[in-house]
């Protein structure tokens, strides 16, 4: 019972947190973490709303979606981290914004 309500709510909260982090946090690593929270939140909503509890007939669709989603998220995270490393090597910066101000 609690799973179908509480966990989607947790998912929504995590999603909101992720959006906030992605937009408000400056540090690139923080943004990546936030993006992952974003994903986790969505996955929780997916599984939670599917109402899959022990004993119930398992619905394979959300599971398949989440598994795909996790793989995609890891790929994106890997790309983001690789970019961050290159960016840092090139500029010594770990945020997007201050450099912009300097540029203008």
């Amino acid at each position: 019972m609690s799973t179908t309500v509480l966990y989607p709510l947790l998912g929504a909260a995590l999603f909101a947190l992720g959006v906030w982090g992605l937009l408000a946090r400056k540090h690139l690593i923080h943004k990546v973490i936030a993006a992952n929270f974003l994903g986790s939140g969505v996955f929780l909503v997916l599984i939670g709303l599917a109402g899959r509890t022990a004993g119930a007939d398992p619905d394979p669709v959300p599971l398949a979606m989440v598994l795909t989603g996790i793989v995609v998220t890891v790929a994106l995270t890997a790309l983001a981290l690789a970019l961050i490393k290159r960016y840092y090597s090139a500029t010594g910066l770990d945020t997007l914004e201050p450099a912009e101000e300097a540029e203008q």
């Binding site: 959006v19 969505v42 997916l46 394979p60």
Partner: protein, 498 residues
């Protein structure tokens, strides 16, 4: 084996196979592989289009599964039109890229040159999949794949700025994709299906389903860079290597728009998400004005062209408030938007490619420092001029056809203000395009233009050909009309001829 039954799969797999071969072939032979792939992809796309024209929208269930877990591909006129667009512009971009990334023996190979071919073909394949997929979850996967390869392509440019732009692009892309997936989650919880056709049948009044669809649409708007969610686009499109910029601005943005179109016209029943269509239209109008003004203020050609994309994308969204009226207004507006999407794709790709040549030849793309270009590089100037005419929507270009159709749909619906927006947009486009052309026409003023790089047939004439295609697109309007008629939505609306 029945080849016809697998056409959509072939359309998707062809570039993917090409990508793998290009990856294995190495930077020296990859260009050839890519050109071959681009040429070969045209055939199944054309075949698919012909079949759609002959037999109407078709569903393909891969592996014969169907059902919730199987992969369903849908080919209708709309997807065929966009697939054809991707194929033609894709071929142009590929040919151009072979000139752009010349494999100069002895000289330093361009950064990321080897990866370009693989990533580009991979993005092409993902785009084709996005245009063909028939269920909302696979849309998510395709969006992510396109985004992933697009970001990687942007970073092929050297220096810190492309990296910064790519990261901004990536974060926006993730935000969009995740929001979209959240929407899918809610929608699935509410309806239990993912297949677009089944969704169309099972959508009822439900808060969860409406919220889900709203989230999906919002995410797609972000991906299509509708103001105010455009912040990521100009830097990314301007910073990428020119063949990449062209593909991003011309094709990738259209992909997410295509899905929006699908959701609004094929999936949602009329009147669903009440008010959202008007809101989107208003944002589109704001985009036209705001993007054009920004374009007018830019100092560099590529940024100008990128902001022009922000503006031109706005026109696409004028469809939604007009679509409410259904009937002939919808048909005219849909055709107009379709023509606009095509015309803009041709014009925008040609402009980005020409900007790339400008950079190669003159070493920079600062507008103020390019007087006399019309004389030194008449083909480049002609490209910008022809493409510019389409941007402005002046007759007889494709852009004119689009604006005419949209404006007449607006006037027929009684909502004349959308027509006014179209006209104001055209004027603003003239302002920013002629600002550029005027500099090209100016006397060089004694300042010798540095001339570097090598002029090749491919790097100068391919953009010109694309620009000419955008200019002459009116000639293809009958074909586009037939394709629009063969799309699922217009079948409901009853013919496309206004």
């Amino acid at each position: 084996m029945n080849l016809v039954a697998h056409l959509p799969v072939i359309v998707i797999m062809m570039p993917l196979i090409g990508a793998s071969i290009a990856f294995v072939a190495g930077p020296r032979r990859a260009p050839l592989v890519t050109v071959a792939t681009a040429v070969l992809t045209i055939a199944p796309v054309a075949w698919l289009g012909a079949r759609v024209l002959a037999e109407g929208p078709t569903r393909y269930e891969i592996g014969g599964w169907g059902g919730p877990l199987g992969i369903v591909l849908v080919a209708d006129g709309l997807s065929a039109a966009f697939l054809g667009l991707v194929a033609i512009v894709g071929l142009g971009v590929t040919l151009y890229a072979t000139g752009y990334y010349r494999v100069a023996t002895g000289s330093r190979p361009g950064p990321g040159h080897g990866l370009y071919w693989t990533l580009w073909l991979f993005m092409w394949s993902s785009l084709n999949a996005l245009l063909l997929t028939g269920d909302v979850f696979n849309v998510y996967v395709c969006l992510e794949l396109v985004g992933l390869s697009a970001v990687a392509l942007v970073t092929l440019a050297e220096g810190a700025e492309p990296l910064r732009a790519a990261m901004r692009y990536l974060f926006a892309s993730i935000l969009g994709a995740m929001t979209y997936l959240l929407g899918v989650a809610l929608l699935y919880a509410a309806t239990g299906v993912l297949d677009m056709r089944m969704l169309a049948d099972s959508l009822g009044p439900s808060v969860a389903a409406e919220t889900g669809l709203a989230l999906m649409v919002a995410a797609l708007l972000l991906k299509t860079a509708l103001v105010p969610m455009h912040f990521w686009l100009p830097t990314a499109h301007a910073a990428a290597p020119s063949p990449v910029s062209a593909a991003l601005s011309a094709l990738v943005v259209k992909g997410s728009f295509f899905v929006t179109l699908r959701l609004f016209l094929d999936v949602m029943p009329a009147g669903y998400l009440g008010g959202a269509d008007v809101l989107i239209g208003v944002l589109g109008a704001v985009a036209i004005v705001w993007g054009s003004i920004q374009a007018l203020l830019q100092e560099r050609i590529k940024l100008l062209v990128a902001y022009s994309t922000v503006a031109q994308v706005g026109y696409l969204f004028l469809l939604f408030p007009l679509a409410r009226h259904g009937g002939e207004v919808l048909s005219a507006a849909l055709l107009g938007v379709l023509v606009h999407a095509l015309a803009h794709a041709f014009a925008k790709s040609s402009m980005f490619l020409a900007a790339g040549v400008t950079l190669k030849r003159f070493g920079h793309d600062r507008i103020a420092d390019l007087p006399g270009t019309a004389r030194r590089a008449p083909v480049i100037a002609a490209t910008f001029a022809l493409a510019g005419v389409t941007m402005m929507g002046l007759p007889p270009s494709g852009g004119f056809g689009a604006k005419w159709l949209i404006a007449s749909a607006a006037l027929a619906s009684g909502e004349w203000w959308w027509a006014a927006v179209v006209l104001v947009g055209g004027l603003l486009a003239s302002a920013y395009m002629f600002r550029l052309l005027a500099v090209f026409m100016a006397a060089p003023g004694g300042r010798p233009l540095p001339v570097g790089g090598v002029r090749t047939l491919r790097t100068e004439w391919v953009p010109l050909a694309l620009a000419a295609a955008s200019f002459l697109l009116v000639l293809a309007v009958p074909l586009v009309t037939r394709l629009a008629e063969a799309s699922a939505v217009v079948a409901q609306a009853g013919g496309v001829v206004p």
